[in-house]
Symmetry: C4
Subunit: 274 residues, 4 copies
Amino acid sequence: MASPKTNDWRFRLHEIIYESNTPAGKAFDVGLLFAIFASIIVVMLDSVERINNHHGKLFKILEWIFTGLFTIEYILRLISIRRPIKYVFSLLGIIDLIALIPTYLGFFFIGAQSLVVFRALRLLRVFRVFKLGSFLTEINFLTTALKGSVRKISIFLLTVLTLTVILGSVMYLVEKRENGFSNIPESIYWAIVTITTVGYGDISPITPMGKFVASVVMLTGYAIIAVPTGIITHDLAIAARNRKELPESCPSCSSEGHDTDALFCKYCGSSLYR
Amino acid sequence: MASPKTNDWRFRLHEIIYESNTPAGKAFDVGLLFAIFASIIVVMLDSVERINNHHGKLFKILEWIFTGLFTIEYILRLISIRRPIKYVFSLLGIIDLIALIPTYLGFFFIGAQSLVVFRALRLLRVFRVFKLGSFLTEINFLTTALKGSVRKISIFLLTVLTLTVILGSVMYLVEKRENGFSNIPESIYWAIVTITTVGYGDISPITPMGKFVASVVMLTGYAIIAVPTGIITHDLAIAARNRKELPESCPSCSSEGHDTDALFCKYCGSSLYR
Amino acid sequence: MASPKTNDWRFRLHEIIYESNTPAGKAFDVGLLFAIFASIIVVMLDSVERINNHHGKLFKILEWIFTGLFTIEYILRLISIRRPIKYVFSLLGIIDLIALIPTYLGFFFIGAQSLVVFRALRLLRVFRVFKLGSFLTEINFLTTALKGSVRKISIFLLTVLTLTVILGSVMYLVEKRENGFSNIPESIYWAIVTITTVGYGDISPITPMGKFVASVVMLTGYAIIAVPTGIITHDLAIAARNRKELPESCPSCSSEGHDTDALFCKYCGSSLYR
Amino acid sequence: MASPKTNDWRFRLHEIIYESNTPAGKAFDVGLLFAIFASIIVVMLDSVERINNHHGKLFKILEWIFTGLFTIEYILRLISIRRPIKYVFSLLGIIDLIALIPTYLGFFFIGAQSLVVFRALRLLRVFRVFKLGSFLTEINFLTTALKGSVRKISIFLLTVLTLTVILGSVMYLVEKRENGFSNIPESIYWAIVTITTVGYGDISPITPMGKFVASVVMLTGYAIIAVPTGIITHDLAIAARNRKELPESCPSCSSEGHDTDALFCKYCGSSLYR
């Protein structure tokens, strides 16, 4: 992006690895995404006992190949960036490291290798790649709107959590240990399962009184799910309006609120675009 | 629709089979819909062991009758259309063929006949028939709005899928094989069951730590279900606004987007209603 | 409501039974509501085996008392209305009759009495009573908005049903009889349980392929639940706007779309309220 | 807040305990919140049998310490407020008392101590503390919007309850006792579990007819969940609009509700901005 000194190989490397507006950069990103997908599928299949029994050795080799590739990628990222320390402690940098370590740790600690499942976190790079092209606007729009909702959604989740603590405690008194509500944390877990309408059925009320309380919890959950929806719908509408209204205020009388396609100020008549 | 040469039998056939604005065309469509319904009900009942034991022979005959009728319909469709190849490879054309093949395949491959359940896909013709008359506007309105949402909903589903892969992998580490989370794909299946608030309960967390992670998954699912709703509500509102603004364009400079109550064009000043 | 001939006892009776704007009418409505509630609670408790064993006789007597009261009410309704036949065949009239018959039928057919549960339908009278006073506006507003949504929601439900037939049929092929998907109607039932995110878990996929198809069904259900929400939110907004805009069109130039509190027409300047 | 006589220790105490705009008041509030959290976690852990067996004595002591602290707090609240009786019968006052009593009751009635779980209600104080600072606006906004929805949501819940009574009664007739629908209240509980899409699966239909009725219940629940969402979204939008329009009232005739971009009062013609 910045004006480059094209004779610098480090700059070129940076362009390929961190940027995506050159053919090589795009190819690198797409290739990386494929490698991430493939490595995750290997981890997945490796966890299936039946498949592991037959192809365990192959998976071991593949895992080392992917770990090797990602290690090389990690080193290249370190040397091609101006301030490597900043990358190391960035979210993506930490995730990239977490995806590497478990395989190496497997040498020293038995079982440490199973932490390789955290490689799934690298999937988040999908969004970096998708950000290119036509999805960018939509992603920006959604994140802007959702950022505006974060506070209200937090208040909502806090209320729901308080409710589940109270309702779970009540249910513990009502249903007793014998019916599966063996302690308060367990009862709170039940309240969360119920209020979110998940309803596993691993714990469910047995006494008539318990069923009554459960009905209240369910109807509450059913009614309040409307709240986050209302909040997000509302904030999407606001985000949409702001996106449109952004560039409009009369340059001569500084009045606002003109139609998005107006050419002249509707209050003082001077041109909106000098 | 186009001005016809009424002496052409092929044109007439086309009008009956493909169009619905003549009495014969309407009758054909409604009759076809009934045949599709009846054939699907036969397939359904045939799958019920108890009924099959008693009326198996009758169902076999009925299936052949329907297959025969649909074969004739398919041939008529082929000869009455100008470019048969286009129909054959259209979505509805492929579905029409899929509804026929299994019965014939039953001669050569045992069990192939059970593929006749795909005849249910023909139900999609319902929407072609309903498109007539007063439902047309509503269907058009909904499809326009939903088309606008497709991209945003895709981003949302991609995020949810990434989340389920990550959360499923974490759960596999937390709960271990003994508790039903026998491998990562299975754990991801559990994460999908949980985050969508379906909650079968065939796999559910047993350890306290697992229940804690599950609670986080549930509350996440409960909170983010608001996102697609917000998106669709928002796009319905936009589709509705666009629908209204459609017929307003200045008759002299053909600019669009005037306020719904404007009397004069805001760009050229001429009256909007001559 | 209409100007009465107060010397007519039939008119008075009509006023008490059918209207609610006199003290006697209000008292009758509230009393009736209590009787309905009490009679339903008797039916409910009577169905509980343990309670029935102890108080069965008492419940039998109470049931006859309520049936007697409702029979008198029904006869009074018939004689106090001008066109009894219209009441008999109205929705509320039919429900009122259904609430009576089972007790009498119990004489002739054993078990017919259990149909008395349909007395619960009389609960719908709650809304007639609540319509009075301040809830009227809200109820009217909601019903107007929902009427506008009925068509779109029907199209949505039709789509969902078509989807469940197709997905259920596919699942029947994938999971086979041994895994609980014993026939196509059963599989469709499973698809409905899943797509609506109810998820009993009485039938759930067992094979990996089945779990994959189930995941698709769940994510579909999770994403499309947004559609009816969007529709209803949208129609509520329209209903709200219309409510406001209703009384406004200029009496001299018949232009529309004035602000709800405008006094003068903004196009021709004449007073909006002559 | 009011102009204080700072030499009064009672006033100072009041400021610390009831207000939060002084450093001491803030510290008190945060400290109290921590004490509430800690006391609830003690109650929770105490209910877990395994932990209770090891640390039962410690928990008993901690419970008495917290009860002591809350008792002191309660007494300080009583003496520092002008009208103690008003606090005693306020919602927070009652909850504060409920959090104390069970421990003392444990002396006289065995088991009364388990009522200490109601201490969880004190968590509601979280919102008093959060009301400070930047969350205040959001909380106010949400509560204003939701207050406007209460009536409509009540009508909705009443409709849902009526539906569940009717559908539950029907299901009781259809499925019979043998299949888990052992009485009408139980069937209504099932209807609530189903219509709210919780779906425990502890009771689920077994006969084909029952499965059909259940499908209707599920699709109903799936479609009507949209109603409260629509209501709340709508009322949020209205609350947002009102918030914006608040400061606009004509300075000469004090009429309200002018367009956001109006320059002159539309009722008296004087400038809105002097």
